[in-house]
């Protein structure tokens, strides 16, 4: 596969969330509002890309018996560095994301891509695969975050957009249920449904 394809494939037909069904947990936690969802998406993309690159460089020296532990050490080191850098240079954002940054370590997409791709492929394709999957994850996070913030609190990026449309005056109310974690899963489920009904390739018999 060409590098460009490696980057683009995970956006749609091989999306880590809607097709590989990885990283669902963080999809649920950070998507009540758009802004933390975007910062989380960016952090995950950086970590997936770098972890893929580093593991791919090390792949021929890693003893198979301890490969998961080696992957975990690399991923957690990267995540802690991202967290420290955010705290030093993007203090506001780091306060908002708080514990979620640390939870990137347990994001299945990161280790999933390491096991499935970086362990058997050279560095440049691995880097592309990491970036691609990071973006694929980001797309889903942004869609879910937008839906939940807009329908749940009538805002986008913290700006009360629904207020300006005058919908409240004719009896419209925000759906508080949208802010609850289960609604994230339902929105992701709807996304998967929409994608599979459009794309016959993805349908299982």
């Amino acid at each position: 596969m060409k590098n460009r394809q490696l980057i683009v494939m995970p956006w749609r037909d091989n999306n880590p969330v809607t097709v590989q069904v990885l990283g669902i947990c963080s999809c649920l936690a950070v998507t009540a509002q758009l802004k933390p969802a975007v910062v989380m998406a960016a952090s995950v993309t950086v970590v997936t890309a770098l972890a893929n690159l580093i593991i791919s460089l090390m792949r021929n020296s890693i003893p198979p018996r301890i490969r998961i532990i080696v992957q975990l050490v690399v991923v957690s080191t990267l995540v802690v560095i991202v967290d420290q850098v955010l705290r030093a240079y993007f203090y506001d954002v780091s306060k908002q994301l708080s514990v979620f940054v640390g939870l990137i370590i347990t994001n299945c997409i990161v280790m999933g891509r390491l096991e499935a791709f970086a362990m058997h492929n050279p560095p440049v394709p691995a880097l592309c695969d990491g970036i691609g999957n990071g973006i694929g994850y980001s797309i889903v996070l942004v869609i879910v975050g937008t839906t939940r913030e807009l329908l749940g609190s009538g805002c986008l990026w913290g700006v009360p957009v629904v207020e300006h449309t005058g919908l409240y005056n004719i009896g419209y109310e925000d759906n508080g249920l949208m802010l609850m974690p289960p609604m994230a899963l339902i929105v992701v489920g709807l996304l998967i449904w929409a994608q599979r009904s459009k794309n016959k390739k993805l349908q299982e018999s």
């Binding site: 933390p36 003893p63 018996r65 301890i66 080696v70 420290q84 203090y91 708080s98």
Partner: protein, 199 residues
């Protein structure tokens, strides 16, 4: 598949862990002063916000030095002074972790400003305690009357007339309870200073 000796595996893990530890220590030590500075500026910005002074990360230190002084309202009762107003620090427990804030009181000990923040409350639910809208619900409230100390409590459908009740956050009941508890615990020690006006 290539097989590796135990000795290789052990040395490999030791080297990897050593390298990771070294890297993390270097990062932590180099970034520490910047992080501490950020935390300090963040705290000063919160105190300024409680006092109703708008500040940016750059202007916070100068504004703080010009307006705020540290004082005490009795043994072990620190406070900040802004003109004839007092600002009191609050610390408590939310649903997932610590919550904290500052509350500004005028001469008659009516709340004239408040600000809250949290470590890990759910964004969009309990996390809303950090919004200006939530903080503004406290303005004009009071935690003393002629009978003594009456804590400000967060309630569902709080009575508009009551000076001791504030609307809780919908979907954030546990966090709201934490805020009520924090207001009671952190403000009660100051009741002697606050009730002086009724004696």
């Amino acid at each position: 598949m290539k097989s590796y000796s135990n000795r290789y595996v052990l040395i490999y893990s030791a080297v990897l862990l050593g390298a990771a530890a070294l890297l993390l220590s270097v990062v932590a030590v180099t970034l520490r002063p910047r992080q501490q500075h950020n935390e300090d500026v963040g705290r000063k910005q919160m105190i300024l916000r409680a006092a109703g002074i708008v500040s940016t990360a750059e202007s916070a230190e100068t504004l703080y030095a010009e307006n705020i002084s540290e004082t005490s309202l009795g043994e072990g009762l620190p406070a900040y002074r802004y003109g004839d107003k007092h600002i009191i620090a609050l610390h408590g427990k939310g649903l997932w972790g610590p919550i904290w804030g500052y509350m500004c009181f005028d001469k008659e000990w009516n709340v004239c400003g408040a600000v809250f923040d949290h470590k890990g409350e759910t964004p969009g639910l309990g996390g809303n305690i950090a919004t200006d809208e939530f903080a503004s619900r406290f303005i004009g409230k009071s935690c003393v009357d002629s009978t003594g100390f009456v804590p400000i409590a967060l309630k569902k459908r709080a009575s508009k007339e009551s000076r001791h009740e504030v609307d809780a956050i919908s979907g954030g009941t546990m966090t709201s309870n934490g805020v009520s508890e924090m207001l009671r615990e952190c403000l009660e020690p100051y009741k002697t200073a606050m009730t002086k006006q009724y004696r």
